[in-house]
């Protein structure tokens, strides 16, 4: 049941990513599939984070009409796995730590997506360095602020995730 709920949330996030930027410009800088990946990676196993990242990333590649497939898939799979691993070994249950992780993941995701497009000789508009920095900065801020609200909602939808987090803490310190 939990897996079905996870899939439904990712599908809803992809649909919202399709619809919202047209009406609310701020959603250009908020990547809901990435936030979904981070949420499920923070509270679950690296495997869960990896699969969620794979689905969310490939879904993002499809809905954005990208010329190259797998760029978002690669970055989000890796981010999901790394956060999943980190959540087993470090105390990431604290809300502030979670927001730090969101900011870091948003930055890493942008760098990987842009980096792969450059390596694959795709015409990606970087502009001057300060323009690129501004876009990256806006995206980090957008993702982090959206995560504050989104994680509250998701914590209500997935109350057992909190329990899973507590068990991880217990295992980390007492196992």
């Amino acid at each position: 049941m939990q897996k079905v709920k996870t899939v439904i949330v990712i599908v809803i996030f992809l649909l919202l990513q399709m619809i919202l930027p047209k009406h609310l410009g701020i959603f250009r800088y908020i990547e809901l599939p990435l936030l979904g990946t981070i949420f499920f990676s923070l509270m679950r196993s690296p495997l869960q984070g990896m699969w969620t990242g794979l689905a969310a990333g490939l879904g993002k590649d499809i809905i954005s009409g990208a010329d190259v497939y797998g760029v978002n898939g690669f970055s989000k799979t890796l981010i999901g796995y790394c956060i999943g691993r980190a959540s087993l070994n470090f105390p990431l249950e604290n809300p502030l730590a979670r927001l730090g992780i969101v900011a870091l993941a948003s930055f890493a995701d942008t760098i990987m997506v842009v980096g792969f497009n450059i390596v694959l000789q795709q015409p990606i508009p970087l502009g001057a360095w300060y323009d690129f920095g501004r876009v990256v900065g806006f995206k980090v801020i957008g993702d982090t602020l959206a995560a504050v609200l989104l994680f509250i909602v998701l914590n209500r939808i997935f109350p057992d995730q909190k329990e899973s987090g507590r068990m991880t803490v217990k295992k980390r310190y007492y196992a």
């Binding site: 809905i63 954005s64 009409g65």
Partner: protein, 288 residues
């Protein structure tokens, strides 16, 4: 809450699974990057075929909400706008009558000289259901697809100018690359001087014409139209107006910023021109 041995074993092997998944995606990237015009994958097509109608319903619902909010604020400006629009209508009516008279004279002359009439392209209306899903590409999705006769590379236009071209087609949707996308290219010319160049997107609200020699005269506010040389957009479609003209210090041609006449960034309804490369006639009266 202890893990089963099978789960532990799977977790131990997770890094291998990660490596395989990442390698597969690297492979997908290298294959799709080598075929930029390869179109969407079968899986991608199926996903979008399912997503598109849901997104259309969601978009319509959200449009009603945002429409009522913006509608209320726009009501306040409507009175003053109405006065200026009435003046504009009168002015345009005079111009329309003049153009009609000229068109009638032109038709008479064309018949006498035996010049074939300009082709009228078949077109269908479409709604924009999604836009700006990625920060790095200027794309949109429309609610018409292969079932409506839409094919890859068909031009997307509005009454005021061209918007882009179809890059992916599914049964009930099509993804469109806007002319402002940095990888978009259009064969264009300055309407008055017939100077031809290539229009490239700048990934903001503007485009840029390249390959017009630096020694040629181009002014600001000149109309830019398509040439048909790209075999995507038929000749004579309005593209935009020149906004800023300067010589490129690093190349022997001008840098001409163009403001598209169509509201590319905010367009809600468009037309798909049901035209293919073989039907496109190329403008021959150009200077290169």
């Amino acid at each position: 809450m202890s893990s089963t041995p099978a789960k532990e074993k799977l977790r131990d092997r997770s890094h291998w699974l990660l490596a395989i998944l990442l390698l597969l995606q690297l492979l997908a990237m290298s294959i799709t990057a080598r075929r930029p015009d390869g179109g969407q994958s079968v899986v991608g097509n199926w996903v979008m075929t399912i997503f598109a109608p849901i997104a259309k319903v969601g978009d319509a619902a959200l449009s009603k909400v945002t429409g009522s909010i913006t509608g209320w604020s726009e009501m306040r400006r409507a009175a003053s706008e109405n006065v200026s629009l009435r003046e504009q209508v009168e002015q345009l009516t005079v111009e329309l009558n003049e153009k009609r008279e000229k068109a009638a004279q032109f038709d008479t002359l064309r018949t006498q000289l035996g010049i074939p009439a300009a082709t009228a392209y078949q077109r269908i209306a479409a709604n924009v259901i999604s836009r700006d899903t990625s920060l790095w590409f200027k794309r949109l999705t429309i609610d018409r697809g292969a079932l409506d006769g839409v094919k890859k590379n068909m031009p997307i236009v509005t009454a005021t100018g061209i918007v882009g071209r179809v890059i992916n087609v599914g049964a009930n949707f099509a993804q469109v690359q806007l002319i402002t996308d940095s990888s978009a290219g259009v064969g264009v010319m300055i309407q008055s001087s017939r100077l031809a160049g290539e229009l490239k997107g700048m990934n903001n609200t503007r485009c840029e014409i390249k390959y017009i020699p630096a020694n040629e005269e181009v002014g600001e506010g000149e109309m830019v139209v398509t040439t048909g040389l790209d075999r995507i957009y038929p000749k004579g479609l309005v593209v935009g107006v020149t906004e800023k003209v300067e010589n490129d210090p690093a190349a022997p041609w001008k840098r001409i910023a163009v403001k598209p006449t169509a509201q590319v960034e905010r367009v809600e309804n468009v037309f798909v021109l049901l035209i293919e490369a073989k039907d496109i006639t190329v403008e021959t009266n150009i200077k290169q």
